[in-house]
Each structure stands twice: as C-alpha cells, then as structure tokens.
Point group: C2
Chain length 392, copies 2
C-alpha cells in the first residue's frame, strides 16, 4: 500500500483563551498547517478527521463538521473520541484513509476548550474518559489513578524516588520555556517540584499537567501527492494502536501501560525500526509517572531503569534521546483532543528543521506516544525526516 | 487498492431495555455478528471502530475500549461520533482500514442507550448533535428543525400533502411489523398517522421515529480473507461521505440535504453504479420528511417526485425499489449510534438471503443512507450481493 506523509502541521498557542471558541482555535490551527504546506490549499483537502473529548461547555453541536465548516473546509469530517488519545487516533485514521487510496490529502487534528469549566466540572468531565463505575464513582480522579501507579512504581523499584518524578517536571519545564506555543513558559527546580502542594500522594502540583485550551492540525498526504510537489514531507513510517481494560484495577500491572507497549510494538514493526533508532520522542506525560512508564513501555530502557535515564540526562534536550523537547503535556499544556496531533506537529517541525531555538541537531526519526484515559487506549506514531529519506 | 467486504453482521433487538447497558447490548451485537460469519472468531479481528453519540447517563468511561473489552475483544478501538451518522462513518473507517492494508478484519458497530433519560434530558442531549447557538439555544428541537424542512417542502411542491408524510409511516410500520428486531412491530393506517398528535407542525407523532436502545455490528474483511474462506461476503462497492453547514439556516435549501447528495455521488462513483442499479435501500427516516428528501437526494426520483413514488408503491416491500424493508428508523427504531451499522446489517442480511419473512427477491445491490444532525454529515454505502458477484 502506498506511503503516507506529514506534509504540513500547525497549532495554536496552548493556554487559557476565554475569548476563543473551539471553532476559532481549530480554524487557526488549520490556517497554520496550510501555511506550512507550500502550495497546498483548502481545495486540496479530501477529508478531515478531528479529535476531541468534550461535549458540554462551549463545545456543542456535531462538532466535527462544525469546526471544519468554520475552518473553510467543505469535506467529509469524522470526529474521533478516544479520551486524551483522540487526535493521535485521528492521525492514524488519516493514514488509513490515505493508504486506502480513498483520499490523497487528509487533515487530521484536534481541539479542546477546557478552561471555561469550573474545577469540579473539569474533574467530572475528565472523569468520563476513565473507568466510571468503579473508579470515578468511588472518587478516584485522574490524578488519583496515576498516583496509584506512581506509588506502585516507587514500591516496586527501591531506588526510584519522588525526586525522579520531579526530574520529569524540571526537564519539561526547561524545554517548555523555550517553546513559544507552551502554556507554562517557565522553569522549575527539583526543590520547587518536590515540595509543591500535594495533589494526590505522591504526586505534587508540578507532577501534574495543566488544564488547557488549544488546537492542532496536520496534513497527511499520499506518496503520489508528495512526488508531484516540493513539500517538506516526513514519512509516517509506522503507526500502532492498542486498547486495554479501561479500569486500572482490572489490569495485571500498575507499573506499566500494556496498551502503550502493544501500540509501540505495532508501530516499530510497521516502521521496521526499534527503540534504538528513535532520535527523539514526544511522550504522554499527563502526570510525571506517565513519562517514566513511557520510557519503559516504549523500550527506551528496561523495567525500573527510567529514573536512571532521567538522572543521567539521556532524555534532556541535549541528551542522546531528547524526550518532550516541546515541553510535553506538563509544560506545553494538555488540551485533551489537541494533544496527539500537537505531538505530531512537534515531530514534523523538528524533522523539517523548523523548530527555531529549540531545534534538535538533524534528527532522523521521531516518535509520538499518546495515551487515552489511564491506558485504556494508546497510539504510537513514528516519523522519518525528509533528509534521512533522501539519503536512503 | 484491495476490496473490502461485509462478511458478517448482527444486531440486538431495538427497543427499551432498562436491564441492559451499552456494554451488554454491544457485546450481544458482536456475538451475533461473529455467529453469522462462519469460521471467524474474536482472534481474527484486528481492530474495531465504534460509533455512539452519547456521553452521559449510562454511557461513560472511554466507551470505545469499554465496549470492546466487554465484548471480549482486545484490539485497537476507535470511537467515532458524528451524531446520528456515527456508525455509518464507523463502517466507512473500517473500509479504509481494510483497504489500507493495515487490517484484514475490522469490526465496525455502534450502540446507544437512550430510554433511561427523561424527555427533557433526551431533548437536551440529542440537541448537541445539531447546531447549538442558533438552533438549540433558541428552542429548535430536532423535530422542529425537520418540521421546517417539511413545511418548506409542502410549500414548494403544490401537490405534496401531509398524507404523503403519513405514507412513509404506513409503509415503514408495515415493514417493521415483519421484523422481529423492530421496536414498533405494529402497523398504522393513513388516518392514524395523519391525525395523531402534532409534535412540530406539520409533523405528527407518527412522522417521528421513537427513542431507542440498541446495538449493531458488522465485520468488514479484505478480499484476501474472503478468498481463503467460505464466508458469505457482500462487497462494499462504494462508500461516500460528506459534511455540510451544521445549521439548517446556513444552507441554501430546506428541501434537500446537500450532504446526502454529495455522499451519494461519491458512493455511486466509487461503485460505478447509479440510482437505477439500486435494488433496495435503507434510508435515514428519522422524520417522515427525511425519507422524501432521501429519495430525491439519492437520485431515486427528481425534485418534488418523492410523493409520487410513495403513492405508486414503488418503495413498498413489493415495489420496484423497496425502501426501509427493516422498518427504518421509524418502526425498527433509532438507537443513534447503532443506526448506521444497523442499516448495513439489514443490507447484508437481505443480500445473503437471511432475512426470513421479510426477505426480498434476490436483490443484487443495496444502499444505506445515514444522516448526522439535520444534515451536517451524511454517509452512503453500497453493497453488492455475493450471488451477483459470482455471476460477473
């Protein structure tokens, strides 16, 4: 089947935008994505797949077609909702649409407006993306669920400490402070992160991502479109997805996310590469423990070795395997439906040398890892740089 | 790109099931679908695409993976939400997944539990699948929106009458009374339908579909799987989709659904057939006027000619082009997310000669037409009978 490429990508700033709507944010992301894809116009887009979690608040009304119409696109639009993995899945659907031959150019994106809801409403609303009967209705928030994973991890691995969780925050805040699109553009110290208020023990405020408004969009095109163009095309070498028991309590382990492992395995197999070939990654750090588990689930290190990677700076911006150079969900922000597509925006931006001050040194292979709920769904996407492809 | 086939299909009864959940209903539909696909088991399913509208009531918690896990499937699951066209789009996504080569067997389905909500809650909840700011918030219900279309149609076409709307109800109730899965298994007279209580003038109670619980599932497989099997495989000859302005008031016409026209055009083109080749159809008759518009949007007749088709019995069960032999949304019921997949269940059941008492006489080509909102989204799917394919 023919290859699919990312040929353009854009996003809004992530933050709190009381004067914007989900439609205006999405339209801005589409504008930026089209602006980045030299020569492509709205008329070239065959269909759209958009991801969002929310129904309620300002997000109502057959929202897939509602956002594409506002963005000036008159195309079949599918709305995908897989909790926080909505737009990671949307990109995967776009790949299938292109590879199927039924579309040449697909716009995949996502959006979420979250800051208009009160704290309680947000807690309730987010709760619907996890297990309901036995987790949410018994009082387990998302922070609580990830705190259970963190506690289990610290228990299971004697040398792991709360400071290791804080190292995720320190690194990602340092990265986000270099990203003009990030919501929290400031650094934090190990002490700041560790001694901040407890949200759900052992997780502190700095171990949790913020509540965010934002949108992101990527243009996925066929090899035929790429061949006839001068587009900066990053090949989608692999994409894998997996579901799992929605309730954490129904899984065999609290110290791994099996859906991430299986999604990664599928993506590596499709791409014909392994973890060692990955030059940089955007991983789903909704809570600090999630980034540690991601290192292990994605095969970047063995079980229990994630703290070592952090302590040795391997995943720092200047390390061997930079992770979340965008700032990640922690500092860049986490507008649920926009997050997965936003990760692909960062991959493409880095792989095409457009990342400005935070540009990595000629990466060849980037990986994005997007999780829904507390691991009920996961999707992993691997992109190859145009430059590396030219050399092959 | 390789062809995709429907190789199995099943559904629950449609009705009011206070003792069932969205998970138990979906699991039953999956069981029936697998039971109909001789030799296929859960292990053969590579991924799932599920459609549902609702978040709220009994439907919570990353519901895509939640229903597939309950159905015993451990596969990547994408939840699609395109209002009442959710699972029509889910089937389309399954076709893309199979044609892309990324999956060999995909389960596509949908589900909805609606009868547990109060009347007001249902009105609110359904409202989110239409335009929000200028329709729902100003008091326009869905019945009200379709009533506007009906009024415009009666105004525009002098010879069209309220009785023509009632003819849709009479036909579809007659059909549904022969379908053991239908919610309203009783007939109605032209007088019953015309003189029933007004819901939104000119629409009476009999011109409106009921509120329904239910689930449906179809198995979509590649030509390679079909070639190595004895499966009853109906080729998915064409599938087309389109979006439009979500708000009725923003469209150029009230007497057509342009998204249906464009979706049909795309499906006919892909299938290499035209309206004259269609032997029977399941169309989206959420309100009686919708079935009249569908005849014209799908090209079964010219503008203003739909009443004539009904009066002449062309779309009756024993007519030249039977429409909604299942009973349609009107009598079979309309469990939002399950409706589109349920239409495909009926097509496959008829095309493989499994429809029992309501079996049509050897149809070759069946068409399904599924609309989201008041026409903000539409999807049209064309299936070819195994028998007709063998003859080619």
């Amino acid at each position: 089947m023919r290859d699919a490429y990312v040929v353009g990508a854009g996003q809004t700033d992530f933050g709190s935008f009381p004067d914007e709507s989900y439609r205006s944010l999405f339209a801005t992301a589409v504008e930026h994505a089209l602006g980045s894809a030299d020569g492509l116009t709205r008329e070239d887009v065959d269909e759209a797949v958009v991801g969002t979690l929310g129904v309620g608040g300002r997000q109502l009304g057959l929202s897939g077609p509602a956002v594409t119409e506002h963005a000036g696109l008159s195309v079949p639009t599918t709305r995908v909702e897989n909790a926080c993995a909505a737009s990671g899945y949307a990109v995967r659907n776009a790949v299938q649409a292109v590879k199927s031959g039924m579309a040449d150019v697909v716009l995949a994106g996502g959006y979420e407006v979250m800051t208009d809801a009160s704290g309680d409403a947000t807690k309730y609303w987010l709760g619907v993306s996890g297990e309901t009967e036995w987790e949410r209705l018994t009082g387990a928030t998302f922070a609580g669920t990830y705190a259970q994973m963190a506690r289990a991890y610290l228990d299971e691995h004697d040398d792991a400490t709360v400071e290791d969780l804080s190292r995720v925050a320190v690194k990602n805040h340092a990265n986000g402070s270099q990203n003009p699109h990030a919501q929290l553009q400031f650094g934090c110290s190990l002490e700041d992160a560790t001694e901040a208020a407890t949200v759900a023990d052992p997780l502190t405020l700095y171990h949790c991502c913020p509540t965010t408004d934002g949108a992101a969009a990527v243009l996925v095109a066929s090899e035929d479109v790429v061949a006839e163009s001068e587009l900066d095309a990053a090949r989608i070498a692999g994409v894998g997805a997996a579901s799992d028991r929605v309730g954490l309590f129904e899984r065999d382990t609290y110290t791994a996310i099996p859906a991430s492992e299986r999604a990664a395995e599928a993506a590596y197999e499709m791409a014909g590469v392994g973890p060692d070939d990955v030059d940089f990654a955007e991983v789903h750090d909704c809570f600090a423990i999630a980034e540690l588990l991601a290192y292990e689930d994605l095969g970047f290190c063995g079980r229990g070795e994630a703290p070592e990677l952090l302590r040795e700076g391997v995943t720092d911006r200047d390390g061997d395997l930079p992770v979340n150079v965008s700032g990640g969900l922690k500092s860049k922000g986490h507008p649920i439906g926009a997050t997965g597509a936003g990760q692909i925006v960062e991959l493409w931006t880095q792989l095409t040398g457009r990342a400005g001050d935070r540009q990595l040194d000629d990466p060849d292979v980037g990986l994005a890892h997007n999780v829904g709920g507390s691991g009920g769904a996961a999707v992993v996407t691997i992109l190859a740089a145009p430059r590396s492809e030219g050399q092959r």
